[in-house]
C-alpha cells in the first residue's frame, strides 16, 4: 500500500507560489488535489505557504474527504497567522458539522477546536452543542474532547454555554469510548479550574468502573487515572473498588496495568485488614514483574515506578530481586534503574548473589554503569551491617584489577564506609594507598585525602603521602584543596612534628594568599586562628567525632512518596518530582490545599442565606439588623478617620499630602456601597505579590456580640476585579460566612473594606482545637486565592461572661485541679493594672479580683467562650516588667492553648 507522495516534495525551478496558486484554482479536481498536496508538502518541510490561504480555503468545499482533510490540516497550521481570512472557512465548517456523514461531522468539530482563533471559536459553540448530542458515538466522542479544547481557549464560554453539564451527562453515555473521552476532558478541565467541576461521587465511580470493562485500552487509562483521586469513604468501599479494578492487572497494555496498580495502592491505604493487604501485594507482584518484558522504554517507566513502590511497600517484590538482574543487552538507562532497585531490595538473605552480580557489572565496558555498580556495592555495605565485610572484600578485589575509574569509584565509596563504621576496617588502608598515583578525579582524590587525614596516626607515612598531593595544590580543584587543607591540619594536630609543621605553613599560605576561592580562604583563616590561639580547642573542633551516616537509598520523604505514588505511570513518577516542578501549563501556580478540605463549603456568592446589607434601607431580617447597627457606630477603637466621614466633612487641612490624597480616594467611593469601617491596619494575609496584584488584609473582630470578618481588599493589578466571593474551610469553631461577600467591582488602585458577618458551628473540623482559619477568595478575573488566618479566641468571648466573686470561687473549687494549666507568656507585659482591666473588659474578659503577693500582682478574671465554656483566669505579673504568668481553669482544657495565645495577643 505504499504511496508515491514524495513527488510532491520536488520543487519547480521558478516561481513556485504563483504556480501553485494557478493549480489550486484549476477547474480539474485532480490537479486541484495535487496542488493542495504540494502545498502540504511544502508546509511539511517548513516553507511558508501562508500566502496561498485564500486559494486553499477555496478548495474546502469538496466532496472528496481526502482533499477536505488536507485543507483542514492547512487551516490548523495557518489560521492563526490569517485570522481575518480564517473567517472564510467558518461557513464550510458549520455546514460540514451537519453533514450526513458522521466522519465529516466529527472532522469539522475536531478541526474547529484546533483552530485557536477567537472569531472561529465563537462559531464553534452551536456545532459543538449539536455534536455533543449527535446520534453517532464517533461524533460524540470527538465532541467530548472538543469541549476541553474550547475550555483551553475560552473557559468562560464553555461555562456560559453549559457545555460542562452536557459533558457530565456524557459520563452516562451508552458508548464506552464516549464516556472515556468525556472523563479525559473533564479531568483536564478540572486541572485548570479551581472550582470543583468534576467531582467523583460514589455513583460516578460505579458508573465509570462499569464502563471500564468495555473501553478501549486508552480509555481505560483515562478512567483509571481520573478515578485514582477518588477517596473511598471506608475500608469496605475501598475493598470493593479494588476488587473491581484488579482484573485490569491482567491487561496486555502496560499503561492499564500501571494505572490499575496506582488505584489499588491508593485504596490500600484505607484497607485495614492485613490479610487483604497481604493478598493484594501478592497479586500485584506478578504483573509488576511482567512489565519488565515490555519494550525497553516502558521498562524504564515501570522501573522508575517500581522504585517508588518498593519504598512504600517493600514486601511486594522482596522475593523478586532476580528479575532485576541486568541482561547483557538491556539499554543503559534500564540497567541503571535496575541497579537502583537491586540496592533497595538487597537484604542479608540475598546479598551474596547481589554482590556477585555487582561484581560482574563492575567489569563491563560502559563506564557510567561500572561506576554505579561499584557505588552500589558501597551502598549495600552501608545499608547492611552484617554484609559490610563481604562488600569491602569485593571492593578490594576490584581495586586489584587496577582499572583506573573502578579504583577511583571504590575509594569514594570506601570513604563512606569508613564514616559508617568508624574504626572497623582501617586495615585496608594500606591497600588503598597502593593506588594513590592512579587517582586523577577530584572526588576520588578528595576522598583519599580525607582518609589519610582522618587516619593520619595509623599511616606511618601519612606526611609523605599528603606532601605528594601538596605539590600540585594550586592546580587542584576546590574540593581537593579543601580536603588537603583539613587533612594537613588533622595531621599536624595528630603528629605535631617538624614535617607537618612545615606543611601546614605551606598549605595555609597557599590557601590564604594564593587563592580567590572565598570558601578555601575562610576555612584556612579559621584554622590558622584556631591553631595560633588554642591548639587544644583546634583539636576539639577539627578532630571532633563525626555523626554516623546512614544509607540514603530510601531517601524520599514519606509525604512526597505518597504524592508520587498517587501519580504512578505519569511523568511525575518518572522524574520523582511533583507535577508542579515541571508542568508548565498549569494556570494555578500556587499550592492548592487538598480539594477534600473544601467539600461542603457553600459558594457564598450563590447561597440563598439571608444577605447582609449594611445599607440601612435594606435591613429587614434580624440578622442584618445587627449588622446595620454595627455599621452605624463603627470601630470603637478607631484611630483613623472613617471613610464615611471623609466625603461628608472634609477633614481639617492635613499637612500630609498623602493623607489628603487618601481622603480623596475614599471620597470616590459611591455612596450606595456598603460602608465598611476602617480601623487600625489589618494584618496582610495575601500580599499583592502573591495575589497577582490583589492584596487582602483581614482579621476577625467582635462587634456587639457578633463575630465579623473585617476585610480590606486592595487592587494593585491593572484590571478591574469583580465578582468577589469568599469561603472558609472547616475550622475548630465552625466559622462560616453568614452572607455573601459584598465587594463592589474594584478598579485598579482601588480598595474596599467590609465587615462580613460570621456564624459559628457551621463547618466544624475534627481533631484537636487549633487556631487555623483557611480562607479562599475568588473573583472573576483571577484564580482562587487561598490564605491562612489565625483565629484569636477572644473574639468569641461573650458579653455575659462576667462572674461575681462568689460564683468565681465556687466554680474554681468545683473544677478539679487537673483542669488547671499555666503558661509563662514571656513577651506579655502589664503596664498598669487599670488600663489592663479596661482593655480586657473591652474584649469581654472581666475582672473579678486582685491581690498582691511578693511584689507581684495577681489578677483574677473570667470569660465565657464559645458554647458558653467558662474560663477562670489568673494572671501573675510585676507591673511594668515583661513576663506574665497565665493560669487558667476551665472544663474544656483543650481550649487552654488557644486561650494563652489570645491572652498573649491582648497583653502585647
Amino acid at each position: 500500500m505504499s504511496g508515491h507522495d514524495s513527488k510532491y516534495f520536488s520543487t519547480t525551478k521558478k516561481g513556485e507560489i504563483p504556480e501553485l496558486k494557478e493549480e489550486l484554482n484549476s477547474q480539474y479536481k485532480d490537479k486541484k488535489k495535487d496542488a493542495v498536496k504540494k502545498v502540504i508538502a511544502a508546509m511539511t518541510v517548513g516553507k511558508d505557504v501562508s500566502s496561498l490561504f485564500t486559494d486553499v480555503v477555496n478548495c474546502m468545499q469538496t466532496e472528496n474527504l481526502e482533499l477536505k482533510k488536507l485543507v483542514y490540516l492547512y487551516l490548523i497550521n495557518y489560521a492563526k497567522s490569517n485570522p481575518d481570512l480564517a473567517i472564510l472557512a467558518v461557513n464550510t465548517f458549520v455546514k460540514d458539522s451537519q453533514d450526513p456523514n458522521p466522519l465529516i461531522r466529527a472532522l469539522a468539530v475536531r478541526t474547529m477546536g484546533c483552530i485557536r482563533v477567537d472569531k472561529i471559536t465563537e462559531y464553534l459553540c452551536d456545532p459543538l452543542q449539536r455534536c455533543l448530542k449527535d446520534d453517532d458515538p464517533y461524533v460524540r466522542k470527538t465532541a467530548a474532547i472538543c469541549v476541553a479544547k474550547l475550555y483551553d481557549i475560552n473557559a468562560e464560554l464553555v461555562e456560559d454555554r453549559g457545555f460542562l453539564d452536557t459533558l457530565k451527562d456524557l459520563i452516562s453515555d451508552n458508548n464506552p469510548m464516549v464516556v472515556a473521552n468525556a472523563v479525559a476532558a473533564l479531568a483536564e478541565i478540572q486541572e485548570t479550574s479551581a472550582r470543583p467541576i468534576f467531582e467523583i461521587t460514589s455513583q460516578t465511580l460505579s458508573k465509570l468502573l462499569t464502563a471500564l470493562n468495555e473501553c478501549t485500552e486508552w480509555g481505560q487509562v483515562f478512567i483509571l487515572d481520573a478515578l485514582s483521586t477518588y477517596k473511598a469513604a471506608d475500608a469496605l468501599e475501598a475493598e470493593n473498588i479494588v476488587e473491581r479494578v484488579t482484573p485490569r492487572l491482567q491487561h496486555a497494555n502496560c499503561a492499564v496495568v500501571l494505572s490499575a496498580v496506582k488505584m489499588i495502592l491508593q485504596q490500600m491505604e484505607l484497607i485495614t485488614s492485613t490479610d487483604v493487604v497481604r493478598n493484594l501485594c501478592k497479586k500485584m507482584a506478578p504483573p509488576l514483574v511482567t512489565l519488565l518484558s515490555a519494550e525497553p522504554e516502558l521498562q524504564y517507566v515501570a522501573l522508575r515506578n517500581i522504585s517508588l513502590i518498593v519504598q512504600k511497600r517493600p514486601t511486594i517484590l522482596a522475593h523478586e530481586i532476580k528479575v532485576f538482574f541486568c541482561k547483557y543487552n538491556d539499554p543503559i538507562y534500564v540497567k541503571m534503574e535496575k541497579l537502583e532497585i537491586m540496592i533497595k531490595l538487597a537484604s542479608d538473605r540475598n546479598i551474596d548473589q547481589v554482590l556477585l552480580e555487582f561484581k560482574e557489572y563492575a567489569t563491563e565496558v560502559d563506564v557510567d554503569f561500572v561506576r554505579k555498580a561499584v557505588r552500589a556495592i558501597g551502598r549495600c555495605a552501608i545499608k547492611l551491617e552484617r554484609a559490610a565485610e563481604r562488600c569491602i572484600s569485593v571492593l578490594l578485589e576490584l581495586i586489584k584489577v587496577k582499572v583506573n575509574y573502578v579504583v577511583q569509584e571504590a575509594i569514594i565509596v570506601i570513604k563512606d564506609i569508613f564514616r559508617r563504621y568508624p574504626n572497623t576496617y582501617e586495615s585496608i588502608i594500606a591497600t588503598l594507598c597502593e593506588s594513590l598515583d592512579t587517582l586523577d578525579e577530584p572526588e576520588a582524590k578528595a576522598s583519599m585525602i580525607w582518609i589519610i587525614g582522618e587516619y593520619a596516626e595509623r599511616i606511618d607515612n601519612a606526611d609523605e603521602l599528603l606532601e605528594s598531593f601538596l605539590e600540585s595544590f594550586p592546580e587542584e580543584q576546590a574540593m581537593v584543596q579543601l580536603q588537603l587543607l583539613t587533612a594537613t591540619v588533622k595531621l599536624f594536630l595528630k603528629k605535631p612534628t617538624e614535617g607537618p609543621q612545615q606543611m601546614i605553613q605551606v598549605v595555609l599560605n597557599n590557601a590564604t594568599m594564593e587563592t580567590d576561592n572565598p570558601d578555601l580562604r575562610d576555612r584556612a583563616y579559621i584554622y590558622w586562628r584556631l591553631l595560633s590561639t588554642d591548639p587544644e580547642a583546634a583539636k576539639d573542633v577539627v578532630l571532633a567525632e563525626k555523626p554516623v551516616i546512614s544509607d540514603d537509598s530510601n531517601s524520599l520523604e514519606p509525604s512526597l512518596l505518597d504524592e508520587l505514588l498517587g501519580n504512578i505511570a505519569t511523568l511525575s513518577s518518572v522524574y520523582h518530582k511533583l507535577p508542579e516542578a515541571f508542568v508548565s501549563r498549569a494556570k494555578l501556580t500556587f499550592a492548592r490545599p487538598d480539594d477534600e478540605e473544601y467539600p461542603a463549603a457553600v459558594e457564598t456568592g450563590n447561597s440563598e442565606s439571608p444577605s447582609y446589607e449594611v445599607d440601612g434601607a435594606a435591613a429587614t431580617s434580624s440578622q442584618s439588623f445587627t449588622s446595620h447597627e454595627t455599621a452605624r457606630q463603627p470601630v470603637p477603637v478607631a484611630a483613623a478617620p472613617t471613610p464615611s466621614s471623609a466625603p461628608a466633612s472634609p477633614p481639617a487641612p492635613v499637612p500630609d499630602l498623602l493623607g489628603d490624597l487618601l481622603g480623596l480616594d475614599n471620597a470616590l467611593v459611591p455612596v450606595d456601597q456598603p460602608i465598611a469601617p476602617s480601623g487600625p491596619p489589618l494584618p496582610v494575609l495575601l500580599p499583592s505579590t502573591t495575589g497577582q496584584g490583589l492584596q487582602i488584609s483581614a482579621q476577625l473582630v467582635r462587634r456587639d456580640g457578633q463575630v465579623f470578618y473585617n476585610l480590606l481588599l486592595e487592587n494593585n493589578s491593572q484590571v478591574v476585579l469583580d465578582g468577589f466571593m469568599i469561603q472558609f474551610n472547616k475550622n475548630t469553631f465552625g466559622l462560616a460566612a453568614a452572607g455573601p461577600l459584598q465587594i463592589p467591582p474594584l478598579l485598579p488602585q482601588d480598595s474596599a473594606r467590609t465587615l462580613l458577618p460570621m456564624v459559628m458551628f457551621q463547618n466544624l473540623s475534627t481533631g484537636p482545637p487549633n487556631t487555623l482559619l483557611q480562607v479562599a477568595v475568588k473573583n472573576n478575573q483571577q484564580p482562587v486565592w487561598y490564605f491562612n488566618d489565625k483565629i484569636s479566641l477572644h473574639v468569641f468571648f461573650s458579653e455575659d461572661g462576667r462572674m461575681e466573686r462568689a460564683n468565681f470561687l465556687e466554680t474554681w473549687k468545683s473544677l478539679p485541679d487537673s483542669n488547671e494549666v499555666a503558661k509563662d507568656l514571656s513577651s506579655a507585659i502589664i503596664h498598669s493594672i487599670d488600663s489592663t482591666v479596661e482593655n480586657f473588659a473591652a474584649t469581654n474578659v472581666f475582672f473579678v479580683a486582685k491581690r498582691r503577693n511578693a511584689n507581684k500582682d495577681i489578677l483574677y478574671m473570667s470569660a465565657k467562650g464559645p458554647r458558653g465554656i467558662p474560663f477562670l483566669i489568673e494572671l501573675t505579673a510585676s507591673v511594668g516588667a515583661p513576663g506574665v504568668k497565665c493560669a487558667v481553669k476551665t472544663p474544656s482544657l483543650e481550649m487552654a492553648p488557644l486561650l494563652f495565645d489570645a491572652m498573649e495577643a491582648l497583653l502585647k
Binding site: M1, S2, S6, F9, T44, E66, K69, N101, P102, L103, R110, C114, R116, D136, I145, M177, N181, A184, E214, T216, W218, A226, T246, P247, Q250, H251, A252, N253, A255, S259, N279, P286, P287, E295, E297, L298, V301, K322, V323, P331, M336, E360, T363, E364, V365, D368, R375, V403, N404, P442, A446, A478, L482, T486, D551, N567, A569, T570, Y575, R585
Partner: protein, 471 residues
Amino acid sequence: MAGAVSALFLLDIKGRVLVWRDYRGDVSAVQAERFFTKLIEKEVTSLGVGEEIFVEMQNLTLNWWQVDPDSHDPVVYDNGVTYMFIQHNNVFLMTAARQNCNAASILLFLHRVIDVFKHYFEELEEESLRDNFVVVYELLDEMMDFGYPQYTEAKILSEFIKTDAYRMEVTQRPPMAVTNAVSWRSEGIKYKKNEVFLDVVESVNILVNSNGQIIRSDVVGALKMRTYLSGMPECKLGLNDRVLLEAQGRSAKGKAIDLDDIKFHQYVILAGIKFYLCPLFVYLSLCVRLARFENDRTISFIPPDGSFDLMTYRLSTQVKPLIWVEAQVERHSRSRIELMVKARSQFKERSTATNVEIEIPVPSDATNPNVRTSMGSAAYAPEKDALVWKIKSFPGGKEYMVRAEFSLPSITAEESTPEKKAPIRVKFEIPYFTVSGIQVRYLKIIEKSGYQALPWVRYITMAGEYELRLM
C-alpha cells in the same frame, strides 16, 4: 489527574523533523528539533554539575547520583517541555508535553503508532514516511486528538483511512467497529474455508552466571492466532492450566500446570466479561469468590480477523537449561588463545532442537582462526567479535564440541581497557514441545450460521534471552 501531549514528531536519524502534528499549539517544532538534535549528538550537558561544587567533607552527606548519567533516557525534560521518544529504523517518534501526562500510556502509544505505520507502509522508515505523508497526517489526526490517544487498531483504521486514491471516492463512514462494543471486528467478513491457526510459542529466558549458577530463568509464552473465519464467531478455548481447571470444578490431576501471570488481549477481556464471565476473576479472586461464578468459565472471545496475540503468560519456575554450553578459554602465552566449547542438549530424546546457533565471544583483536567441530559448522564472525557455531539439528540428550584457536597480536596497549565481557548466547527452536507443559484441550468455534471451522494447533519453544556468562 489528566495529561495530554502537545505534539507528535517524526524525526530522521539526525533528529530533524520529517512530519509533525501539533495538537495543542503550545510547543515549538524548532525548539524541539534543536533540543533533540543536540541530545542525540550527546552534546546536552548533564544537569548542573559545575566544577564548583564545594563539598564540605567534614559534614559530608551521601550525595550520590545527583547527576543523571549521560544516557538516552527515553523521557527527557528541557525548558518546560518533556520529550518522550522511541526509535524505529532510521526514524525517531517523539512527543512533546507540557503536562503531567501518563508516560507509560504515551510511550506505548508510540510503539502502537509504529505498528499502524508498518501495517500501512509495510516498513516504517524515512522514505516510507515521505512517500505517504498525506496518509501519515490523516492517521495522526485519527489516532490522537488534543494529545489523547484514540484508536490504534491498524485493521480498524484501515477501514476508513484508505491509501488507494480511487477508493477514496466512495463515501466513508466510521466503521461500526470504531464505536461498537466489539471494536476489533467488523461485520460481514466472509471466507470460503473457515480456519483457525493457534500457535503456542514459548520463549525461554535464562541467565547463568560465571559460576555456572542459574540466576534467572523464566518462560514467556504466547498464544498467537490467525483466524480466517466468517461472520461473528465466538471461540472457546480450554487449557490445562491448573487454576482454570480447578475453577471449572475439574480435578487438576496429572498434567495441570501453574502459570505465574497471564495477560489477555483487549478482545478477551471485553468479550469475556460481556458475554460470559471473565476468567480473570477466577484467577484473581479464586480463594474468596469462587462461589459467585457459576456459569461457564472457559476463555471465550470474539476473535479479530487475521493474526493477533490472544494471550501471553509468564512462568518463573526454574527449568533445566535446554541447551547447556560450557566454554574453556586458555591463553597460551601472549599470542595464542584456545577455546574449547561443549554444548549439551538436556531435553528428552524424542525432541529435536533446530537452527541452533551458539555465539561464543572472542577477543576483538583475535586473528587466524582455526576451528574444528564435531557437529555443524563454526566460523569466526569478526563483526560480532564471536565464534558462531551453527547446528541445524540437535537431538535431545546429545553432546557436541567445538575447538578453536586464534592468534593474538603480541603487542598490547600498556594500559589495557577492560575486555568487553559478552556472554555466550544461544538461539534454538524446539518444535512440538513446550517447557511449561501447557496444552490446548479444545478450541471450539461457534457461529450462528453453523459452519464447521478447522482449528490447527502448533507448539514451539524458542530461546529468548538465553545468556551464559563466560567462566
